[in-house]
């Protein structure tokens, strides 16, 4: 079964149609990259999968999105967002909370663990996000004392702690320096063995490095989708070729 099934999705803000009918099948336990130039609707598509897009006013969504065969529009919203974790473009741990609490509070609210068990989940998530060794001695410090790359890994840990099956990543390295970015990319390679990762990126190079399958989105439509080698070595569509060779974007 596919992890995420997107069928004829059209999304508009007011009168502006951003997605003009998107179909995608995202298999389980791979890293699936959605790439395309700015403004092509990649983030909108990603945020439609956990219905975060509906926080905006005037959003209209048509079409169907299924998570492991079940319509997300018929699922309980808190359950959907527990199963579909998300990491954002700007590292956004809550600055007023401690490193520990950033992870623990959502674990508590979602009843993932209780009492002493919470400590274990926090440690597990931080290890999973390869942040544990850097922060284990200062878990009670405020999260805003971390570096950008550490903050982003904390956000990944925060998402993983809820034991999601799908992890959405919206340009997670866009605001990081190259070293921090490559750490995140390594982490993604590790995580895709257990999770389905859907990553949005505006960098074809990044998609080529980390993804198994790639969809190229242009002006609200999927131009081409396929295995990463196909897309980058013998693209069927001229637009795709131009994009991956850096002539548009």
């Amino acid at each position: 079964m596919n992890a995420v099934e997107i069928e004829g999705v059209k999304i508009s803000y007011g009168n502006l149609e951003v997605l003009k009918g998107v179909d995608l099948s995202i298999p389980e336990r791979i890293c699936f990259a959605i790439m395309g130039p700015s403004g092509c609707g990649k983030s909108t598509l990603l945020k439609a999968i956990n219905r975060l897009i509906e926080l905006n006013d005037n959003v209209k969504i048509r079409g169907e999105i299924k998570l492991f065969g079940q319509s997300i529009f018929k699922m309980d919203l808190t359950r959907l967002r527990r199963e579909v974790g998300m990491v954002f473009q700007h590292p956004n741990p809550f600055p007023h909370m401690s490193i520990y609490d950033n992870i623990a509070f959502a674990v508590k609210c979602n009843r993932i663990a209780k009492g002493k068990e919470i400590d274990k989940v926090v440690e597990w998530a931080l290890k999973k996000a390869v942040l544990w060794d850097e922060v284990k001695d200062r878990l009670k410090n405020k999260a805003n004392q971390l570096s950008g790359g550490q903050m982003q890994r904390l956000c990944i840990a925060r998402a993983l702690a809820l034991k999601p099956r799908v992890l959405l990543m919206d340009e997670p390295t866009a605001n990081l320096d190259p070293i921090a970015a490559s750490k995140i990319e390594d982490l993604i390679q590790e995580l895709k063995k257990e999770y389905t990762i859907v990553i949005v990126t505006h960098s074809p190079a990044q998609a080529a490095r980390i993804a198994d399958q790639v969809a190229f989105l242009y002006l609200g439509k999927v131009v081409e989708v396929g295995d990463v080698n196909e897309i980058f070595e013998k693209p069927k569509n001229e637009l795709t070729e131009k994009y991956v060779t850096g002539r548009i974007g």
Binding site: N50, T78, R81, R82, M86, F88, M97, N144, L162
Partner: protein, 299 residues
Amino acid sequence: MDQFKIFLLPVVGLVFGIIILMLLVFTLNSIPIFQHEGVAIYTTNIWKASEVSEEEFYGILSAIYGTIYTSTIAITISLPISIGLAVFVADLMPRRLKELLIIPTDIMAGLPTILYGIWGVFVLVPTLAEIMKFIHGHFSFIPLFSYYNPTGFSYLSAGVLLAIMVTPFATSLIREAYVAIPNIYREAVYSLGLTRFEATKVLLSYIKPAIIAGTLLAFGRAVGETVAVSLVIGNAFNIDASLFAPGYTISSLIANQFGNAFAYKLMPSALFSAGLALFTIGLIVNIAGLIVLKRWGYA
């Protein structure tokens, strides 16, 4: 640029000058009463006016107590309402209806306070009196409700009235801060499978400094409110734990006693020293509020 600065300097100087001069006037005029009885003016509850100046004795402890008591009641009532209203307007109301609630609250914040006072005397006090009698009848063993035969003119009435008056102010401060929470944190909260209640709790904890500052500034307003309070508090030199007891506040004391103060030698000085106490409380609360607001700079 420098000439511009020089041009503005007198304006800045004027503002600071007025504050300093006021403080000076209050301090200088308080000296006679301090010489007469020392700090007893602030630590005793005696109000003895006399033609013979040696027999005059004034202690405004009951007014200081009443000021803090009524303002605390006001904040206790107003804070949950302000937060609830702020969240409701920001998150739950349809965009077009928001103004419908924001405009009346802003108008409420700016109304002349005597209007609240009159409403308090003719509507609030009689209504609360009935409720007080009922509660006193059944729960008089609890100290808060213990005052015998409540008339309605009481700490509670003043506190409720003050709550109504400061809520619009507090709610707009909290609402502004709540709406200004960066979108990236809003998205983060909602991406974590939290219920609406849990998500709101996290967002409110993010603006906690703004809530504290809003509370302090609202407290400052409640402390300074005069006319409305003096109409409903009962104006009695009284220190009582009961919500239903009549009392005094510093500002209502000054307003009430001012008329006949000049018939006595030391009473004007006593009222100035009361003003000094009010000045100090107001200054502390407002500065604390502003400091908290200033320090609020995480992200």
